[in-house]
Symmetry: D2
């Protein structure tokens, strides 16, 4: 007779990034992993890596984070991780779209890409997740039917000269998370938002930035994805009397 297996769903998982590190951290807590991402090949490589470390992980590649795409992928997730053997108990919306341009250089496609990946995807993802959570029982330890967290950034709280596409989307995501936190708290669904205020040490950022020269080595000046994941696990485990909607995370030496 087997216990129900908890599942974490992540949208936006790339090897070496926050989504992947969060997946690995929840796997260590006994979760199965449903990983949604663009880039089927890279996603499969990540899943293979997680599996070779002993995790139960499945790749759910998507062509985009449009709402129809999200809806469709959730059908596959439910087929792969069916109730009552599996129970989706945690979810991370980590998909984002990096764009920094002068306002007048932005195309409508740029604007839509940010909106779709950051806001529309999160909206559709949240509807899928919260519908599932509402059917869950309340976990005795945490008082939760489920835990949903969104990854934000400095741009989530500050508009800037080159953020006229990104900031509207990231502020929108933050507003969604606050509205959901208020609406579903009484359902014992915990919704949270993390402001990542600094550069994360990922393959992507390592390929892009080399200033200051030693930033990768110096843990005081950039975030480890694993340390962000620790924060997400902590939040997932917060007991019902003291839940956090929002926290910021930044390196010790970050100027802010």
């Amino acid at each position: 007779m087997s216990a129900i297996k908890p599942v974490l769903v992540v949208a936006g998982a790339r090897a070496g990034g926050t989504g992947a590190a969060t997946a690995a951290a929840f796997a260590r807590k006994g979760y199965s992993l449903a990983l949604i991402s663009r880039g089927a090949e890279d996603l499969q490589a990540l899943v293979d890596e997680l599996k070779s470390a002993g995790s139960d992980a499945t790749a759910f590649p998507v062509p985009s984070y449009s709402a129809p795409s999200i809806s469709s992928v959730f059908q596959s997730i439910h087929t792969r991780y069916p109730s009552p053997h599996y129970s989706i108990r945690a979810a991370l919306y980590n998909a984002s779209h990096s764009i920094r341009k002068p306002f007048l250089d932005l195309t409508l496609a740029d604007f839509h890409a940010a909106q779709e990946t950051i806001v529309e995807g999160a909206f559709a993802f949240s509807q899928e997740i919260i519908r599932v959570f509402k059917e869950n029982d309340i976990d005795a330890d945490t008082g939760k039917r489920g835990f949903l967290i969104f990854t934000g950034s400095t741009t989530s709280i500050r508009g800037n000269r080159t953020t006229s596409a990104a900031a509207p989307a990231k502020w929108g995501l933050r507003a969604l998370s606050q509205s959901l936190s208020k609406e579903f708290g009484e359902w014992n669904i915990h919704v949270a938002h993390a402001i990542i205020d600094g550069i994360i040490n990922t393959p992507f950022s390592r390929s892009r930035f080399n200033d200051p020269p030693n930033w990768v080595e110096n843990e005081d000046v950039r975030l480890n994805a694993e340390d962000i994941a620790k924060a997400y696990v902590y939040l997932a485990e917060q007991p019902r009397s003291a839940w956090t909607w929002e926290l910021d995370l930044r390196p010790a030496h970050e100027k802010w």
Copy 2:
């Protein structure tokens, strides 16, 4: 030989509302009026009313606030108010989309409607306006090439139980305005955002709310569109040494 005539462009103008009152207030300052709105018939009635009061106003009806729709209508505006006889010097983005629903009742269409009218429309409108403003000379009194204001609301700064569609859009609009304010200040383009924190006395709200019974008569408990318009005129006239990005406006007795 005639002077150049200043033009105010308003997106979102309904008789009795903030857009209409702002148009009338700028008309009294000598502006011609380009009024963009849905509902061609109502818009024409408003334009007729403004014209019968001696204003130079033109209706630019749109089927929606989608970016293509906004681009298209600006072509008509430039034809009707051509440079150098006319100069667009002020713009108000007042279009909004009222939607309050539990999150799980929201359709994707609901979500898109809010995003399109509030964020995509504002994005496209701002690109049109700022391109024009950048070509303007700097007004000697105000130090401005142009003035662009966005109408926000309580929902712009607070997510709530039934605002999971509206809040992401209104926060997004606020983020856009802040990014533009920072990017174009050095171009002497003044971008502002107003948080209207209370019910406005409009035909629409009168038809919808009757609680408390005397709220229409009692100026202490709701906003007059004319008083919001006064604030917008004030902001438009602020001299270059002291520009406001954001102010809130609420009735004297509002609980907040």
Copy 3:
């Protein structure tokens, strides 16, 4: 038979500064002026200047902005501008204390000086003013028994490396203004707060800063006290349906 004369009370008035400019602006609207400040000699010079311009102004020097000092000076103000011939209808708390030091260099005296001038003084001033306002009748044009504004700064919304004495005081002042705005709105008393986000062109700042070299001449990079005063007059005149608690004011080219 004479009409009742309105009085503006200013705490923190130095020649060439915001307090002085606000006094002059309200004088042009017909107000008598009660000016509270440290530095009796400078204050008298300012009053003389205002009087020579035709204003009715009186100097009320204080040794400090401690609460007892504020209470005592209000007795003198009531004696000089007695009811019912005079009516205090507007008040500006503009006193501040400029201190930027590394935290560990701050003495307790430094800390107290900031707290006393910025928070304690404002607390005592507000009690004096609101007690008077509550006895006033409601002005028909503005719907106000009185208007009370506080001058804030960038430090009011952002703590920084050298603001561990100033920021607690300025945030405290902002909190006071928000609490009072909420408590006394229903009394038709308008309480506002202005965030001055930039350097003001005053004799004091001219003596202190010379970077960039042309900052004094360039109205795009610093605030005129007169333009701040215009904002304060505008706020004082806002009609009851649309009052502002807070606005920011910054030069066109300010980086923020």
Copy 4:
């Protein structure tokens, strides 16, 4: 040969409250406890309780949280927990002053009491603590010389009708924490602020509130001090790449 023993200093510790629960939680991590509080008798009872549970705890009663009182008590702490045998590595400023009154009912003594306990005490406490922290070595696991956290509340971010004494103090405390976080991050000193947004289940609150009737039993509607303490321990252990300045904590069903 004995290892250096880490010490937690708490200001504001009452049996059953956040300070006491935090002390107990850090004791379980191997910390000695220096507990500062008013009410010598109650404090001694708390210390006795902690000692009977096996903790090393010492009572440091103070007559008030005035700066001189804080300075004096730190001399005693250093005598009792001398370097190099002991090392102060963590500190909680949890002292507060509960006051809710209409503004005009507040006495200057009320105002000063809130300022002294909440802001002046925190200022003096922080100077003592940061001076010590700067001499510490950097902990290999967390990247910290020390961890300093302040307890805030709903009033820390929102002024209200009856908070014109409390809000200026609590906003001031928050500003202090933000300034210190920015100044001392590069010293590897972690400064944090927690917004406790709800009622805490303490002997004090149980004696004061009985609405709704079952609030004490229902963990969904109020905070456990132990759960706040868990958050503080979590923050203390955050690794250097991802530190939080601020998080909020509220019960699952809290309306906000």
